[in-house]
Symmetry: C2
Subunit: 201 residues, 2 copies
């Protein structure tokens, strides 16, 4: 699904789906968890050259932390700032894992019906912008709760701590295409699928 | 630099440089730290379709740990196994950060001469295989020591704990193009630049 958001209007991404839309330099994108305990995978591409894409590896290197929140900058694979987190009522997000897919469902939920997941939803939403599924990297997973045990390195996917109405706001530092989902994987959101709301200002 | 390794022969990657070569299904690649306290960035691509590339996000998701060692599988962006770690005398590597580049030198070492880093070295070495710099993701950084503080999320780049002669061995699960470097960033290797040795069996 591709759309041009109406500034100031809150739009809904239905459960287990995704969307893509342009975000211009200076505009703000607010991702809202309307019911609480839900995850939204966010991707960003340079609208003028979609080979430039949001990069977890560059961002974590520059930020020197995996805990990104207000004031942190999200970088592209070319080390340019794409987005700045300007407000964040949760403070706990993930930037280590790739969007869920048919294959991750096979691995983690062999007894559940397969689902194309955020990966498939993002691939379809981004296709009209000339972006292929091979260009989908690690997403910035808003509200996703992935603690790491420092001693063992073990990571866990726990329910988000976000409450109904919690949100995170990004400001664009370049003209972007944004991909955004309401997550499809049971473990990411405490087992119940919910929508995500977003607003562009 | 592109080359076809001679099986059983130890080759050297000179300090601050990189190489690319094919690795066939079933072959083993051993990456050796000949002097100790050095880092080697490793990338892998499906030789028949270079849109399929090693994926930190998929690998960490399936392994449920950031501490990868003997027995762990390294996955592609299509959730297929590319490499298996079959021997590892160190047990401490990084799979969170992207290869160093001109821009990371500008950021972290503004007083040092710029260097294209592992990113530039890999881009040149992979170009003959039709792989562009936009296709360079987070590398598996052999011997790189990046502890994370569990409470704050803060990450640090510390000198590797590898001693002279330490090594890690990977077995290929598909026909691959491998990119491999001797790291160029002072903080990654305790401040002195050294070669990396490798062997294909």
């Amino acid at each position: 699904m591709s759309a041009v958001p109406q500034p100031g209007h809150v739009d809904e991404i239905p459960e287990r789906s995704g969307i893509a839309f342009p975000l211009r330099t200076g505009q703000r994108l607010t991702v809202i968890d309307p019911k609480g305990c839900q995850v939204s995978d966010l991707l960003a591409y340079n609208v003028d050259d979609t080979d430039e894409v949001i990069s977890s590896g560059r961002t974590l290197d520059y930020a020197e932390t995996i805990r990104l929140t207000t004031g942190h900058l999200l970088y592209s694979n070319r080390s340019r700032v794409m987005l700045e987190i300007v407000e964040d009522t949760v403070g706990l997000h993930d930037f280590l894992l790739t969007p869920c897919s048919y294959e991750t469902f096979d691995h983690f939920y062999p007894d559940l019906p397969r689902h194309r997941g955020c990966f498939g939803n993002l691939a379809e939403a981004l296709e009209p912008y000339g972006i292929s599924s091979a260009q989908i990297p690690i997403a910035f997973n808003c509200f996703m709760n992935v603690p790491i045990d420092a001693a063992s390195g073990k990571l866990s996917v726990l329910p988000p701590i976000s409450k109904a109405g919690d949100f995170i706001t990004f400001q664009a530092h370049m003209d972007l295409v944004i991909g955004l989902t309401a997550c499809s994987a049971p473990a990411s959101n405490g087992g119940s699928f919910k929508p995500i709301h977003y607003r562009v200002d």
